[in-house]
Amino acid sequence: MATSMAAAIAASLPAPTAATPSSVKPTYDAIPASMSKVIDIQAEIPITSVQLDAMVVSKIIKHGRESAFGTGTLLGLDFDGTVEVSNCFSLPAFPEEEDKAAKAVAQANYQRKVIGHLREVQGDENAVGFYQTTTVPLRQSLVDLQAADNARLRQGGILVVHDPSQASRGIASFRAYRLTPQFMSAYKQKKFATQSLIEHRLTFSSIFEELPIRIHTSALASAFLSMVSKPSSPTTLQSYAARSMTTLARPYSSLPPDFSHLDLGLPSAVTRNLEQVVEGLDSYRTEENNVAYLTRQIAREKTRADAYVTTRKEENARRIAQGLSPLPEEDVSRLFKIPPEPSRLESMLLLGQIDASAKNLEEATGTGLVRIYAAQDP
């Protein structure tokens, strides 16, 4: 009951975006009792959904069109379990060669600068997460980025992934994720060996949890959209042209309806998707080989160490039998460098990547089947 009440209040209120201008001293009013359920200062209400504003959707799509792996910051508020993302800005692509620390510093500086500027025009100033435009759903860099800011952001922040390649199938693909607590605790310890994976019950599907996304358009944006999609009356010239020719003039609306979903062929999208799966499998195979090699290395070193210990023990036993003082039992770990167990993070991420690509493929083929049976003559 409390949640539904809270939701009702949340719906009836304008988004609380009142940023106090820097010149005026902020005054803190007591939160009214009716609102205390929905405004959580301590970030106690768990995030259950994400809401994207029209501007955010449009900006992310634009960024996705311009660069293959675009990253940016999401700004907004969390309110009654919903993260309302009301603005975003793209981060410049810092050259890859730069060392990671310098890159992170440059990125943070840029972020602070832009947020400062946005504050001056009453924009939102709370970073709530990141967005990434990518065709590959799970990537190491993505996880690193998200995990690095996990502590700074309220409730760990969210991640919105947009896949621009889906646009060719007529889909605007947006997904929201957040890192799971299990993953974060493993990440903090920087341990991704098998034992740690078992302890945290980590598989690729438990790195991120997906959050449902809703798209919201402000009243003004709705007015704009309805204006551009409304068919306008043809001009005199156009109607004369239509009368004298065999073809009708094009639809007079600025945003005509789109029927790309009904396109039957679309082999390119499926082919690309299939290629992605195969590529993923290839790199997974390479990674598995690496892990197997390292495991063999560990096993070999271990056998050698064991063999050394046994010979030393046997020798000692012999020496004691002969009445000699035994040789000291040396620390084996200092004599033999047993390499640490390889991190399984990379292979886990690759598996996740393969799974996500295969899922996309499954969806595409599923719809493809429906489509072609629908087109078949009855």
Partner: protein, 293 residues
């Protein structure tokens, strides 16, 4: 050719100008940014202004994005926060390296002599090209949403910065291929009662499209029926168009060919779907096995 309210766009070759853009093509992103800025204006602000970023081509100006600019406006003077403007420009150009300043926007419905001053200021920023001015009327007073674009042209014998003739230029909505699905999604959201929608799945999208087509066929049927009944006068252009559409059939293909093509396609799709399933279950098994050891 304005978006929304009609305007009479004329083209005048202003003396001394380099080359005049003949059309303004506007990205939806820029519009959303402007509208958001307008929503966030302070109570005592009459309008908000900002900078338009975009790309100039041979024939038109593409407005790709926009950012807000601080300004103050009183009864007898205006000021732009120049420092803010330069800072914002710097951070924007770090990300959008290809985009330049092409002009400025303002919300509201009127062009006044302050507009002329702003136009003069932006003309210095965009020189030697002309600055364009985008007037976004949010319908507060005129009750009609509309976007108009203008070029500034000096007026009078001796040009003064606060004198300016705003010459309308046609403005159209530009949409790249990759943007269509997104705009459709937003349109779906805007049509809902509370302006919110979940992201649609592939199948839901397909269903919507099919329903759209069905309703269109219904409309055409109604139209044809009422023409046959003599209720309304038939339009020959529509008649010819319908005839053309009905003539596009698959009869050109051999009888069995279509069926075999169909079967091949279905088999391919099933094969890929099977493969995808297989890969997914293998991946799942593999990740579980890691945990078992």
């Amino acid at each position: 050719m304005s978006l929304g309210a009609s305007s009479s766009a004329v083209h005048i070759n202003a003396p001394g100008a380099q080359r005049l853009p003949v059309a303004v093509r506007l990205d939806a992103t820029a519009v959303f940014t402007i509208l958001d800025h307008h929503l966030r204006k302070r109570d005592n602000q009459k309008r908000v202004i900002g900078t338009l970023m975009g790309i100039r081509t041979e024939s038109d100006v593409q407005v790709r994005s926009a950012f807000a600019v601080l300004h103050s406006e009183t009864a007898d003077q205006v000021a732009i926060d120049e420092e803010y403007f330069q800072n914002m420009l710097e951070v924007t150009q770090k990300v959008q390296t290809r985009e330049q300043i092409v002009g400025w926007y303002s919300t509201g419905s009127e062009l006044n002599n302050f507009s002329a001053l702003f136009q003069n200021y932006y003309a210095q920023q965009t020189g030697p090209h002309q600055a364009i001015h985008l007037l976004v009327d949010t319908g507060d007073r005129t009750k009609e949403f509309g976007i108009k674009a203008y070029l500034g042209s000096p007026m009078g014998v001796s040009a003064k910065p606060d004198n300016c003739v705003f010459v309308p230029v046609p403005v159209t909505l530009r949409q790249a291929d990759g943007e269509r699905p997104g705009l459709n999604l937003l349109r779906t959201a805007s049509e809902e009662p509370n302006h919110t929608t979940p992201v649609l799945t592939d199948l839901q999208n397909l269903e919507r499209s099919l329903l759209d087509v069905i309703s269109m066929i219904d409309r055409v049927q109604n139209y044809v029926q009422s023409v046959i009944d003599g209720d309304i006068q038939g339009d020959p252009a529509i008649g010819r168009f319908l005839l053309d559409t009905l003539n596009t059939t698959t009869e050109g293909l051999e009888k069995g060919k279509l069926e075999s093509l169909f079967n091949i396609h279905v088999q391919d799709t099933l094969m890929v779907s099977y493969l995808a399933n297989l890969v997914r279950s293998q991946a799942e098994v593999s990740s579980r096995l890691t945990l078992v050891t």
